[in-house]
């Protein structure tokens, strides 16, 4: 695979994965805390 394409793919996929993981984890954590309090 072309190195430029690979770099773009890694950045794009990585950012989306990171955003998804961060937002869902934070949401579930906050929800847990809200229920506990």
């Amino acid at each position: 695979m072309d190195p430029g394409a690979l770099a773009f793919l890694i950045i794009a996929w990585g950012s989306i994965f990171a955003m998804m993981y961060w937002s869902i984890t934070k949401l579930l954590q906050a929800e847990k805390q809200a229920k506990a309090s």
């Binding site: 695979m1 394409a5 773009f8 793919l9 996929w13 989306i16 955003m19 937002s23 869902i24 949401l27």
Partner: protein
């Protein structure tokens, strides 16, 4: 404040429903052909720019507007816009914004459904045809054309889809919609992931120079040369795709958010919805149709596949692939799930309208809407040339979305006032949106939409879509019909759009007037301290 409305039972259910709302045919059917026909890597650059400056801001605006409206017992845009606009203009002026919003959202929810449900029906039919191998060994383009001309089959699969939709929506938000999406969304992800694994391990089954990795390379190789050459066209297509894929400018995000509690988070939830949708679109949707088509059909056919990529080109691939019946059925079932979970949202918008504005019980309202949508969808089902569908899509599926998105900002940010909006966005929020995002929401997103609308209007003008006399080039080149036979179909579609806009405007006017008639009579600016 109104009596307690139905609310989401769990946060996970809400997020899955919102993701299901956003993840639709746009992710797996529209995205690949938009991407392919707009230069692959050249398309992805403006796509991410539009996601950041347009998609995320408008998503937050719609969540915030929806929750605000829900607080007053409203799940439809007319009264929501009225309530927000009256913060800075007199009630009678606010009424105009309510009517515009209600009119656009009603036309999108009803007309988009009239053809979108048909496409979901195609997916149901193709799931069956894949399992039975009906199109195997046949010309798949002709097979598709024969299918859309087979009125009985089209109505059967479309009707079946609509009955299931009616059952899901009739059960209500927490007991119906939420339960259905909790099953369908995980299945959708599982099917998509399995198909992606298969797609990326295809190797070079036909020619050594054709492979799915080459397809990925086409998508991800940044192509600044093509982008600079067709900058406006590609940027418009990318921004339009962001609207379509995130279900923005349809009224359905507002509607789902209206079932939140007044202090429920919208900031992080909106962002989670965007990220789940982008995972489904960019990572899963982008790794399916194009890579598969590159491996089996070669770059030229894959790029030129256009709207027919999913239903005409890919069946040809499944017919020649080991275990093609299973993978074909999985692909079309994936499309069906994606379409179905989005269709629930547009359906629910119309039911909420009857429930809240006309006080018709949900169970009865569901089947009234069913009959209405069936009548509205019949001309689509009966037109095998697909000209009627294409004309509706030209207006409802793209132009109206951006127009409603622009009114979202005008009402929820400008008229409601940016500081009020910011405060409303952060009520009960699990995150603090950085302050530098405020000018993006207030100025950059609307500017983006104005440019998008201007560009679309210019494009439509050049294509001949804006003239009363329907030109031959428009009918044949854009809608794919036969001239002059298709002209009455185009005119019929336009008349239906106008009629639905008028009904939507009247409905929004009546709904607002009924509840806020007294303050409309006084017509004084309401100042809240």
């Amino acid at each position: 404040m109104e009596a307690q409305r139905d609310q989401w039972a769990t946060k996970l259910g809400l997020i899955l429903a919102m993701a299901g709302n956003a993840i639709g045919l746009g992710n797996f059917w529209r995205f690949p052909y938009q991407l392919a026909s707009n230069g692959g890597g050249a398309f992805m650059i403006p796509y991410f720019i539009a996601l950041f400056f347009l998609g995320i801001p408008v998503m937050w605006i719609e969540w915030t507007t929806g929750r605000y409206g829900g607080k007053y017992g409203h799940g439809t845009i007319g009264p929501m816009f009225y309530l927000m606009a009256r913060e800075s203009v007199k009630p009678k002026t606010a009424l105009i914004f309510g009517i515009i919003g209600g009119m656009l959202a009603f036309s999108v929810a009803s007309l988009l459904s009239s053809y979108y449900y048909q496409v979901i029906g195609w997916s149901a039919a193709y799931t069956y045809y894949s399992l039975t191998g009906a199109y195997f060994g046949k010309d798949t383009v002709q097979f598709f054309l024969d299918y859309v001309a087979n009125t009985k089959a089209v109505i059967f699969f479309w009707g079946l889809t609509m009955v299931l939709l009616g059952i899901a929506v009739g059960q209500g938000v927490s007991k119906g919609i939420e339960r259905w999406v909790k099953v369908m969304m995980p299945l959708l992800y599982v099917f998509a992931i399995l198909l992606v694994i298969r797609a990326l391990t295809l190797g070079s089954p036909v020619k050594p120079e054709w492979s799915s990795i080459k397809g990925l390379e086409y998508i991800w190789k940044p192509d600044f040369q093509t982008l600079s050459k067709h900058f406006f066209k590609i940027s418009l297509a990318a921004a339009g795709q962001i609207f379509f894929t995130l279900s923005l400018g349809m009224g359905i995000i507002h509607n789902y958010a209206s079932y939140l509690g007044p202090e429920d988070d919208v900031a992080l939830s909106g962002l989670a919805t965007v990220s789940l949708n982008e995972f489904a679109e960019v990572i899963l949707g982008g790794s399916l149709a194009i890579p598969i088509a590159f491996a089996y059909l070669g770059p030229e056919k894959a790029i030129k596949g256009g709207v027919g990529l999913a239903y005409m080109a890919l069946p040809n691939v499944f017919a020649n692939m080991p275990a093609g019946q299973i993978f074909g059925a999985m692909w079309f079932l994936l499309l069906w799930f994606a379409g179905f979970t989005s269709a629930i949202a547009t359906y629910n918008y119309l039911v909420a309208m009857l429930e809240e504005d006309v006080h018709i019980e949900r169970k009865i309202g569901t089947w009234i809407v069913w009959v209405f949508l069936f009548i509205l969808g019949l001309p689509v089902a009966l037109d095998s040339s697909l000209v009627y569908l294409s004309e509706l899509d030209m207006w409802v599926g793209s132009y109206f979305l951006v127009l409603l998105g622009l009114f979202d900002v005008i009402v929820a940010v400008w008229l409601f006032k940016p500081d009020n909006f910011w405060e409303e966005l952060h009520k009960g929020a699990y995150i603090k949106v950085p302050e530098w995002f405020k000018p993006i929401i207030t100025y950059i997103a609307p500017l983006f939409m104005i440019i998008l609308l201007a560009g679309n209007t210019w494009d439509y003008y050049k294509m001949g879509a804006l003239t009363l006399h329907v030109p031959k080039a428009y009918v044949e080149g854009v809608l794919g019909g036969k001239y002059p036979d298709a002209v009455p179909i185009v005119m019929r579609a336009r008349l239906v759009i106008i009629a639905i806009l008028i009904i939507g405007a009247i409905e929004a006017y009546m709904a607002i007037k009924k509840k806020y008639g007294e303050e409309l009579e006084k017509n004084e600016v309401l100042i809240k301290l």
